[in-house]
């Protein structure tokens, strides 16, 4: 019994971590006023870059850095479209979601002899308790990235709500014209936030391919980026809120993995729907008050005030 509980907990943490990074990216981007539905594509590209760099350098941390850069580059494209060219942010996001996986697999074939999956990474990301944990503790011996994700969430909360930079980001997302009149550079602020969101998403992708499965495949990222978006809304555009939302999604996925082995009366497929049904139900119950940043998704044009 205890074994099952710790296993559930461990899997929950493991599965929620990539989504946490994606969701934190979403929070930051949308708080500054740019809708980023391209998180999924950025995570996929990051997942590949992480695995490839991790494999060839044999150092997972170099992999994480490359993943961050890969996500950041795609995010830069989105930022250019959304901020400089006032493009439709949803269309641009859709394009990023097409480009991310396409670039990932294209370069994967280049780097791994025409295969659509990478070779397994030898050196995975370290575990929190090293390699010695046994039994029940082994269930809880999760990747270091689980802690990093929590740390990032807390740090983002602190920066957004306690520092002047946070105050400015929030102002840019709520009322960019007001921020502009106070000498805050709306475009620059948004660029920084969107690029950071891509960097976070890229790291999120790498946590899968350098930690959980230690290999890039076409299904390494299968919807985590989209669930992260739901977590952003569910978490009311707040870092800790999004973090908790990801834990819930991670938990319901863990349920399918741990309990879905046939011991339960409910078929696996029905269990697997749980997180998605849950999201919709939660949105119906809690969305009452609009808490989205007011200028979310609205391009800022100087002079149109």
């Amino acid at each position: 019994m205890m074994n099952t509980i710790t296993l559930l907990l461990g899997v929950t943490l493991l599965y929620s971590t990539p989504m946490v990074f994606g969701a934190l990216g979403g929070v930051l981007s949308e708080r500054s006023g740019v809708v980023n539905i391209g998180i999924e594509g950025m995570m996929t590209f990051g997942a590949f870059a992480g695995a490839a760099a991790g494999y060839y350098s044999a150092n997972p941390w170099i992999g994480v850095l490359c993943a961050a850069a890969a996500g950041g580059i795609l995010a830069l494209l989105h930022a250019m479209a959304a901020i400089t060219f006032q493009a439709d942010q949803t269309i641009s996001g859709v394009a990023i979601n097409l480009l991310g996986p396409a670039l990932a697999v294209f370069f994967c074939r280049q780097a791994f002899d025409g295969a659509t999956m990478s070779y397994p990474v030898e050196n995975k990301l370290p575990k929190i308790m090293g390699s010695g944990a046994e039994g029940m503790m082994a269930n809880l011996n999760v990747d270091v990235m689980v802690l990093v994700a929590l740390l990032f969430a807390a740090a983002m909360w602190f920066v957004l709500y306690r520092t002047k930079w946070g105050l400015r980001v929030l102002a840019v997302g709520e009322n960019p014209a007001a921020a502009d009149t106070l000498g805050i550079n709306v475009y620059k602020t948004r660029y920084v936030c969107v690029i950071l969101s891509g960097i976070l998403a890229g790291i999120g992708g790498a946590t899968v391919t350098l930690g959980i499965v230690a290999q890039f495949t076409q299904t390494s990222i299968a919807g985590q980026g989209f669930i992260a978006l739901a977590a952003v809304i569910f978490g009311k555009w707040r870092p800790m809120g999004a973090y908790k939302a990801c834990l819930i999604f991670g938990f319901s996925q863990a349920l399918t993995v741990v309990l879905g082995g046939g011991t339960l009366a409910v078929p696996t497929e029905i269990l697997a729907m749980l997180p998605y049904v849950l999201t919709i139900v939660i949105l119906i119950l809690f969305i009452g008050k609009s808490v989205a940043p007011k200028a979310d998704g609205v391009p800022y044009v100087k002079g149109k005030r």
Binding site: L167, L170, N175, A177, A178, A179, G183, R305
Partner: protein, 513 residues
């Protein structure tokens, strides 16, 4: 004029173009240090554009700016802010989800180590300024919860917190009650006594007389004159502003009102936050009269229209047209019952800007014959109707049926709306702020159309924030305050001062309040 140190601001030969349109042409402005200087002009004259240039939000194509005799390149607001210029915009630039203090310090934060905002210190700094100038605010309240007057004080505090010497106020009185206007003028004098310089943009002559030392007049982007306010009359200022003698009286016969066509009786309604916005609202409009509603923005005008047109629900009370109840039905039923509305903010509420002119002409009749049969649009009939409307109302450019209405000027857009609504042959025509943002010619035209409808025996309900408009166009004037009509008068029965008093919540003995 030469460049002198005792001038806080000198803007010389300022020209700015937006595309092919020249918004300002060789405009100048010389503001003496320690004075209150008004910039007067009609809507669209270029006053705000000039100030945005001074504040660094726009860059002029030509011209120079001097502050205290020194030439300054106003590349962006940061330059303006660092030179001690502050601006209070007409539409407040506040973040609703922030507190008063957060708004004031934004962009100029008091911080501890590591960029952490020191709210405590910021708050006490704010309170110090509050006490010094008598600007009453609650530093911890959220912007969304405070009154418009207090929001304006927050805007002024924002500027003072940055240590401004030169404060620009853009149409500061548009949203204030007369009492709040007096308070504002008192604050302005206090600031000037403290050595600050104030530039106030307005088109209200009375306020210029009451507050300003000097006045620069701009007309359609060109400089007219700068005068010593003490030495000119209101009429002279008005002349300079509009360029020809102002015809303040609307040309019309005395009304011949018939029976009551439209009646609102003791209507109560709440807004989305649950606050009562209409309380025992009652009014009657007769055939052949223009009933004007005077009042300060936010006293229930918007909600009254929304209740009549069934965009919000009525909690109690009745609304009747021709004796038929229409409260809590659908918007379309309201229209079917004989009510047409010229809505405020035509681009947002009256038109689909991406649609062609002809499609906009049938926006509320497309589902009726002859414009459609069995749910199929009849393009020929729509074209025929639109062409007639464009001709009747002299909409320019010629033959613009297929153009997107976005491309038409404000006045021509409004003509399409008025033509469309009048074509419905309504028993009651509601006009909300129908002349907002239009030039003088277009305003006269709109007023003429309203009077023409009245003379055809229709009932007209005019709602406007311009007291002059209500006083001049209406046959009967109702004064709205806090969600109900406080008093009604015949045109000419009382003067502007009395109505202003009631608008601000005062009472009038012996009248039906």
């Amino acid at each position: 004029m030469e460049i002198k140190r005792e001038y806080a601001v000198q803007m010389h030969d300022i020209t700015i173009r937006f595309g092919s349109y020249t918004a300002l042409d060789q405009v100048r402005l010389d503001v003496k240090k320690g004075s209150i200087h008004a910039v007067l002009g009609e809507n669209g004259a270029g006053k705000t554009t000039l100030m945005n240039i001074l504040y660094g939000l726009y860059q002029a194509n030509e011209g120079e700016i001097y502050l205290y005799g020194e030439k300054v390149e106003m590349k962006n607001p940061n330059v303006a802010i660092s030179h001690g210029i502050g601006m209070v915009h007409q539409h407040f630039m506040l973040v609703d989800t922030f507190t008063v203090t957060q708004n004031i310090i934004l962009g100029h934060e008091t911080t501890k180590a590591g960029g952490v905002v020191d709210l405590k210190r910021a708050r006490s700094e704010v309170m110090e300024i509050v006490r010094k100038y008598g600007l009453e605010v609650d530093p911890d309240a959220y912007i969304s919860d405070i009154s418009v007057g207090m929001q304006q004080r927050v805007e002024i505090l924002k500027a003072l917190y940055r240590g401004v010497d030169i404060l620009i106020l853009d149409e500061p009185t548009a949203v204030l009650t007369p009492q709040e206007i007096n308070d504002l003028i008192a604050i302005m004098h206090k600031l000037v006594n403290d050595g600050k310089t104030i530039i106030i943009i307005t088109h209200k002559l009375k306020e210029i007389k009451a507050s300003a030392d000097y006045c620069t007049i701009i007309r359609r982007g060109t400089y007219i004159d700068t005068v010593d306010v003490g030495k000119v009359t209101q009429e002279e200022l008005a002349d300079m502003m509009v360029g020809h003698r102002v015809k303040l009286v609307v040309d019309k016969e005395k009304a011949q009102p018939g029976d009551v066509v439209f009646e609102v009786d003791k209507v109560t309604a709440r807004d989305s936050r649950g606050v009562y916005v209409l309380k025992d609202m009652s009014l009657k409009v007769r055939r052949g009269e223009i009933f004007g509603i005077a009042g300060i923005d936010g006293n229930g005008q918007k909600e009254l229209v929304e209740a009549i047109t069934n965009l919000i629900r009525v909690e109690s009370g009745t609304i009747k047209i021709n004796g038929k109840n229409i409260e809590n039905r659908t918007t379309r039923e309201t229209m079917e019952a004989g009510i047409s509305t010229i809505h405020e903010d035509r681009q947002k509420r009256g038109l689909v800007l991406d649609f062609s002119v002809e499609d906009n002409a049938v926006l509320d009749t497309y589902m009726k014959e002859p414009f459609s049969r069995n749910h199929i649009l009849d393009r020929k009939e729509i074209r025929k109707f639109a062409s007639g409307l464009l001709k009747d109302y002299d909409v320019r450019p010629d033959s613009c049926e297929e153009l997107a209405i976005r491309g038409l000027s404000g006045g021509n857009q409004q003509k399409v709306i008025i033509g469309r609504e009048i074509a419905n042959n309504p028993d009651l025509l509601i006009a909300v702020q129908p002349t907002r943002g239009l030039d003088v010619g277009a305003i006269e035209y709109v007023h003429k159309m309203l009077v023409r409808e009245r003379d055809k025996g229709k009932a007209v309900l005019l709602i406007s924030l311009e007291l002059d408009e209500v006083m001049n166009v209406s046959d009967t004037i109702g004064v709205i305050y806090a969600g109900s009509i406080r008093c009604t008068f015949e045109q000419g029965e009382v003067d502007e001062k009395t109505i202003g008093l009631i608008m601000a919540g005062g009472t009038l003995d012996g009248k039906n309040s």
